[in-house]
Amino acid sequence: MEQSIDTRPAPSGPLARTYRLICSAPFTARLGMVFVALYAFVAIFAPWIAPYGEAEVVSRIPFDAWSSQHLLGTDQLGRDFLSRLIFGARNSISIALVTTILSFGIGCLLGVFSALVGGIIDQIISRFVDALMSVPDLIFILMILSIFGSSIPNLIMIIAVLTSTRFFRISRAAALNVTSLDFVEAAKGRGENLLWISVNEVFPNILPLLLSELGMRFCFIFLSIAALSFLGVGIQPPMAEWGSMVRDNAALINMGDITPLIPAVAIAFLAIAVNFVVDWLLNRVSGLNEEG
């Protein structure tokens, strides 16, 4: 009886493993995690943190300067800018998150399925995805929104479907590498159905790659929602949204006031923070096999 080649203690539960994982993260990744946590905190507890209501007109003076009462001044209708910024975090992040998860689900399931089935079905799905991808995103979204009207569910659906094409391609490519391995063949030979093979055999092996893609796509979705709001077809007033806040207060720039740039900076920081975490995850993917 040979000895096990592995002398490491068995991992003691997912909690301890996660803790060890975070400890091993480099500085940038930890910084990213702190920022993401901060954003999440603000988004979740917005009503308690914000000094005023989201759509509450609190001042008669539009575009009021920074003061002790209104820390970041007021916007074009005299609403508290800081409060709207905080509520904006909630709206922007939650909508982006829902959209990302939706597109992740659609894209990855179809991608793995396509890779497993192969043949003509794979061809049909892949070509359809290629066709979708060949249309410039923003123009496509603007067109669809102008047909169906700009509501939040419409916005989420259309962006989710378009983004899922990216998830489809990457998950299909990653799954193709796994489906050629013996254990997938063994599962087929055992009589497993495709869903079981996708979820149990293929998915765990490509998950780290997909998770890092997830982070990246979250940024892109966040930015396109902001861009759409900036163009006036995204999230509609009176809901606070960072992209539309930039547009609505853009006039202030002419007066040398930097306030309208603050939501833009908030977007930029979140994007950078998420990317720090994603970069680290991607690096770990290459070392995946050692970890076993």
Binding site: I5, R8, G189, G292
Partner: protein
């Protein structure tokens, strides 16, 4: 170039070499004080299981350490130069010109995008101080010496245009191009078929003798090292457990570990002949053909496997034996013929087979690394067929799982491990347990022992034999290893180019007279005896002297 004239001065002298490697808990000693010396024209065999530190020592002789490893004592002197103390730049200059390395897989070592000649002469032109023309002339001389076909034009080919055996010899040419003092051969024939292995061994022997280099020959196969080395050092856990002349090691190995390397060779030859012609066979294959695209992999195969019987399917890689296994398990559709299992013809398509039918035929793969999902625990891997086929849940499943693990000589502690935390032998045991979980009647074993070390191989084979006695399961044992066949088979079927060329009870197939191909196959398996290769070379020369010498003739298999 520095060349030593006096044969008594060692070319390379390793003294008390210690190497440690970085692991999770700091540094682990992987080489624990090894001393070796090799003189000019001498071949030292380094023998041991995987993980014994053979390759690490071989690379250290080149002054090279793998990333994450460092020396912590000892010295490596190459032609009087202390390799461990000179700067890396100096060592780089010596590599390729004074020391060279022949890797296990020539396929992986050659760049597929460049012609062989450019890759072979590169070191000689860059660092060896030869002009391009001189280097190419020398390469052609080496091609001739290595008995490569059409030596004048061989270098113009790309790596994929030559066979595995030829590519391996091309790599030997690359190592010899600067006429180095020392060559390290790292398992150069392990990835080759037996018939090809002989050709490469003959070539290596020839150039070593002709050019008088010192060589370290790393292998886990004692039979191979017996043909090529003068002295053998047996390594285990980074230590030399025994060092002696090849004759002494073969005749009277002293250390218990050295003796254990004969494990498979010394397994009792299983008695066969339980097969009765009157009884309906469990599996019978009638006129079966299969093709990939326009290429016929299987041509008119007829085969029968009885209950509780082991049929060994022997042949070189590419002979179609694995495809036959895939057709039986339904993973590949045949183009003609049928497979009859227990009296009923099997549906060709996998999805037309009922789950219970799938249960009765299981397959075990060659490489447990790819056959086990690295992201699943052993519990999930072995437990899945239990719930799928037998509907076991909860504690009943757990009980059966532990029973199965015990059957393959593992225990419940292994149930929570991931495949990455198991050794090669343990992984293969898990794969066997997964097949047994289905309670099959036929198991297709596709080269299941070829990735394992000799000692582990013998353990796994013994276990399979005793499982067969207990459970009455039949094996279709696909292998290219004649030793394994001797140990386990009842019936032997020899395949070549998709056809069955010889068949019968083991005793019949292995006794004279053989079919021509069986003869060649058997003759190519190195004997565990010094001088076996000399005998082959002698008989070849005798035959060749009656014909004009033609290198490509010898090379038909290479």
């Amino acid at each position: 170039m520095t060349r030593i004239q006096n044969a008594s001065i060692p070319v390379v002298e390793i003294t008390d070499l210690k190497i440690e490697a970085k692991s999770n808990e700091g540094w682990t000693q992987i080489v624990r004080g090894i001393s070796l010396s090799i003189r000019r024209g001498e071949v030292l065999g380094l023998v041991g299981e995987s993980g014994a530190g053979k390759s690490t020592v071989g690379l250290a002789a080149l002054g090279y350490l793998r990333p994450g490893a460092r020396t912590n004592g000892g010295s490596v002197r190459l032609i009087g130069t202390e390799l461990l103390s000179i700067p890396e730049e100096e060592r780089r200059k010596m590599r390729g010109t004074q020391v060279a390395y022949v890797a296990q897989s020539a396929q992986a070592a050659f760049n597929p995008a460049h012609r062989l000649m450019d890759q072979i002469t590169m070191v000689a032109v860059d660092r060896g101080g030869l002009s391009r023309e001189a280097a190419e002339r020398r390469a052609i001389d080496l091609f001739t010496a290595l008995q490569l076909p059409d030596p004048q034009n061989f270098g113009a080919r790309y790596p994929h245009q030559v066979s595995g055996g030829q590519l391996q010899r091309a790599m030997v040419a690359m190592a010899m191009i600067c006429n180095p003092a020392l060559i390290v051969f790292d398992e150069p024939t392990t990835a080759l078929d037996v018939t090809t292995q002989v050709e490469v061994l003959i070539s290596i022997r020839k150039v070593i003798e002709e050019f008088g280099v010192a060589a370290i020959y790393i292998t886990h196969d004692l039979a191979v090292v017996a043909q090529i080395a003068h002295r053998v050092a047996v390594l285990r856990y980074g230590e030399v457990v025994e060092e002696a002349s090849i004759a002494a090691i073969m005749d009277s190995p002293q250390h218990a570990y050295t003796q254990s390397l004969w494990a498979v060779h010394e397994m009792p030859v299983s008695a066969s002949g339980r097969y009765e012609t009157g009884v309906r066979p469990l599996l019978s294959i009638e006129g079966l053909s299969a093709r990939y695209g326009n290429f016929d992999v299987l041509k008119d195969i007829n085969l029968a496997v009885g209950r509780g019987e082991t049929v060994a399917l022997v042949g070189e890689s590419g002979s179609g034996k694995s495809t036959l296994g895939r057709v039986i398990t339904g993973l590949k559709e045949p183009s003609k013929g049928k497979v009859v299992f227990d009296g009923t013809p099997l549906p060709e398509k996998l999805r037309h087979r009922k789950v219970d039918l799938l249960r009765r035929i299981q397959i075990i793969y060659q490489s447990a690394d790819t056959a086990l999902n690295p992201r699943q625990t052993v519990r999930k891997i072995v437990g899945r067929p239990l719930s799928l086929y037998h509907g076991l849940r909860g504690s009943a499943r757990e009980k059966r799982l532990i029973e199965l693990l015990k059957m393959v000589e593992l225990n419940e502690a292994h149930a929570d491990r991931m495949p990455g935390q198991l050794s090669g032998g343990q992984k293969q045991r898990v794969a066997i347990a997964r097949a047994l979980a289905a309670e099959p009647e036929l198991i297709v074993c596709d080269e299941i022992t070829s990735a394992l070390d000799k000692v582990v191989q013998a353990e796994v084979l013994r276990m399979l034999i005793s499982l067969q006695k207990r459970l009455g399961v039949s094996y279709l044992f696909i292998t290219h290893d004649i030793e394994v066949v001797r140990a386990i088979a009842d019936q032997v079927v020899v395949m070549q180019h998709g056809r069955i060329v010889d068949r019968g009870a083991k005793e019949v197939v292995f006794s004279l007279p053989h079919e021509p191909y069986t003869d060649k196959l058997l003759a190519s398996v190195p004997d565990m005896a010094v001088g076996w290769l000399d005998g082959i070379i002698a008989s070849r020369t005798a035959r060749l002297s009656t014909y004009p010498l033609d290198a490509s003739r010898i090379d038909q298999t290479g």
